[in-house]
């Protein structure tokens, strides 16, 4: 035990003095997540605000034929401007992307309206183009509203209450809480935490085998009167400490960053206070051992530092796979998922952020299963550290 501690202390000291290790553990991992996250949030915020607030310029053919409609659109923040020359030109303009949407008012419009027969107007758009489609739908909504208003006026004129046209009154009750809406977007937080955790220990994991070998310090080390198990345990221990540090910093930096993000405007209030941060740390902590063991294991098969770096970047992606699959299929947390490391942490974190009750049995399974895999891989690492081929 004393030997393990000596190795541990030396590795920690050694790596605290290494700018690259320190940079990835203390800066890269913790900063990367919040920055990327803030970027995505701001992007989606901009888009949603854009829709309601920005004045839409709508090219209209035959503007002069429907002055009241144009006035109504104006009240809906849609400015009618002169459109292309004719229908063919309009279709062409939409096809080429010159205009997103063109409204076409035929010469017959005024007469049909006066005769109270359905007055035809045409809305030209490309529905395959999502951006244009949003504008088309906004225009369509405005036209529908104008349609209802005209209908109501006509019924009034005939002494009929417009409510006869509304046999149903549909009230939508949205049960999603503001915290719940955050979960979708905040679901990607868990990956940032896993990423930061792994990054924190990456260079230490490489150093334990490939690094020591490349530097020529492995052979003298192995000729000392200590067992290789003691060496590898000390090294994995040091790797874990750096990973824990990186995880803690990343959680705290997220906690701080969320305060500065205008999430309320998106109707989100993530539940990520100091208490949740602490619980999240404890929840992700078992993953540290597993991550350290996996990285050390992968690095031990490589011939050089560079090769180890290449392989470990693959390891950084691996934990996203289960998260990605479950997110795509929008599966609810189930008992079976709790046996899968990284996935179980993700699902439990999402529940916490949504401010939903967390199933204690699920937590227990997640912790036990992740620790089990961590211990198993550590054992395999130690076995591999004993083989002769380690010297390369």
């Amino acid at each position: 035990m004393r030997t393990v501690f000596i190795v541990f202390v030396k590795e920690v000291l050694d790596n605290l003095r290494d700018r690259r290790t320190l940079g990835t553990a203390l800066i890269m991992g913790p900063i990367f997540g919040p920055v990327l996250f803030a970027f995505v949030i701001n992007l989606s915020l901009e888009r949603s605000l854009e829709d309601a607030e920005r004045t839409l310029e709508l090219p209209v053919i035959g503007r002069e034929l429907a002055p009241n409609l144009v006035l109504y659109l104006k009240s809906q923040n849609i400015d009618a401007v002169d459109g292309p020359a004719d229908r063919a030109a309009a279709i062409n303009a939409v096809k080429t992307g010159e205009h997103d949407v063109v409204l076409l008012i035929p010469d017959t419009f005024g007469k049909q309206l006066a005769d109270t027969v359905p007055a035809t107007i045409e809305l030209v758009s490309d529905q395959a183009d999502t951006d244009a489609d949003r504008i088309a739908r906004r225009t369509h909504r405005a036209l529908q509203a104008y349609n209802r208003e005209l209908a109501a006026l006509r019924l009034y004129a005939r002494g009929v209450s417009p409510t006869v046209l509304r046999p149903l009154n549909i009230d939508e009750v949205d049960v999603s809480t503001p915290s719940g809406r955050s979960a979708m977007l905040l679901g990607m937080m868990s990956y940032f935490f896993i990423f930061a955790t792994l990054m924190g220990g990456m260079y230490l994991a490489i150093d334990a085998t490939a690094g020591e070998r490349e530097r020529g310090s492995l052979e003298p080390l192995l000729s000392l009167p200590v067992t290789r198990d003691q060496l590898i345990l000390g090294k994995i221990g040091a790797t874990c400490i750096f990973m824990a540090l990186s995880l803690a910093l990343s959680l705290v930096s997220f906690h701080i960053a969320l305060k500065f993000m205008p999430l309320e405007q998106l109707g989100m209030t993530p539940n990520f206070g100091p208490g949740v941060v602490l619980v999240a740390f404890l929840l992700f902590a078992p993953f540290i051992l597993l991550g350290a063991a996996v990285m050390t294991l992968v690095a031990s098969f490589t011939k050089s530092y560079r090769e180890a770096q290449t392989w470990l970047s693959v390891v950084l992606i691996a934990p996203t796979m289960p998260i990605l699959i479950v997110s795509l299929l929008t599966l609810r947390p189930k008992m079976e998922f709790m046996f899968v490391p990284s996935l179980s942490q993700h699902l439990l974190l999402v529940d916490m952020v949504k401010n939903e009750p967390v199933n204690n049995l699920h937590v227990a399974i997640s912790v036990a299963s992740t620790l089990f895999f961590g211990a198993l891989l550590t054992w395999i690492c130690a076995r591999l550290y004993r083989r002769e081929g380690l010297l390369g």
Partner: protein
């Protein structure tokens, strides 16, 4: 005292060591001499227990290097070929790390590290981080690291590689000091003159086998060559012709 009996070691199809036997007594310097790739390093690696022999046995002060590897390691100080240091640690920290790992008491470590720093004349750069050290400085620190627990048996794999004249001289002085204090020194080299200048016994290895194991005079006699270099070439041919 080191005793090697008929060790074999293969790496895949390469039969690197084919039945090497020799003795290296206390208070003597024994040289493993041979061309590159002769099996010197592999033999030494078996002795400092990072490799297990396929056949044969080796004992350090009577301790078997395979069945009692940990006990054997306590009795040796090894300088593997191309030993590296931890660049972010100072020379002193590098040495102290090994001292701690060798099981020295905390109080003992400082004292012993000071001693070895003095012995190897590395006071001037002991407090500096080893990043950017010259080859000579690195070898000295590696050697200090290997000797810090005061081992009875010292194994040096090509220690003079890349050293300048001054550094080689101080290395030689140190090896002679170790001999005078009754240590068993075993070192490998491919440089004839170096081995001739230091060794009491020379074991010439070629092609994974021992060509000759004798004193310098004995080798001269047996090969019939007065010049040591000729004797060396002659001995290597003897194995090659088999």
């Amino acid at each position: 005292m080191i005793k090697v009996e008929g060790i074999h070691k293969s790496f895949g199809k390469v039969h690197a060591v084919r039945g090497v036997s020799f003795n290296a007594p206390d208070g003597k310097i024994t040289g493993l001499l041979g061309p590159n790739g002769a099996g010197k390093s592999t033999t030494l690696r078996v002795l400092y227990t990072v490799l297990k022999p396929d056949a044969g046995s080796a004992h350090i002060d009577g301790v078997d290097v395979v069945s009692e590897a940990l006990r054997a390691r306590r009795r040796i100080g090894a300088l593997p070929h191309g030993s590296g240091l931890y660049p972010h640690l100072t020379a002193r920290e590098n040495i102290a790390y090994f001292a701690h790992l060798c099981g020295l008491d905390r109080s003992e470590v400082d004292e012993r590290v000071d001693e070895i720093i003095k012995l190897l004349e590395i006071e001037d750069f002991a407090e500096r981080r080893t990043k950017g050290f010259s080859q000579g400085q690195r070898t000295k620190v590696s050697l200090a690291r290997a000797l810090v627990h005061d081992p009875q048996n010292v194994l040096l794999d090509e220690p003079s590689n890349g050293l300048d004249v001054m550094a080689t001289r101080s290395l030689r002085r140190l090896i002679l000091k170790l001999k005078d204090s009754g240590r068993c020194v075993l070192f490998s080299s491919h440089v004839m003159q170096e081995v001739a200048a230091l060794c009491d016994n020379i074991c010439i290895i070629a092609n994974g086998q021992v060509a000759i194991d004798d004193s310098i005079d004995g080798i001269r006699k047996r090969t019939g060559c007065d010049d040591l270099e000729d004797a060396f070439v002659h001995a290597i041919r003897m194995v090659g012709n088999e």
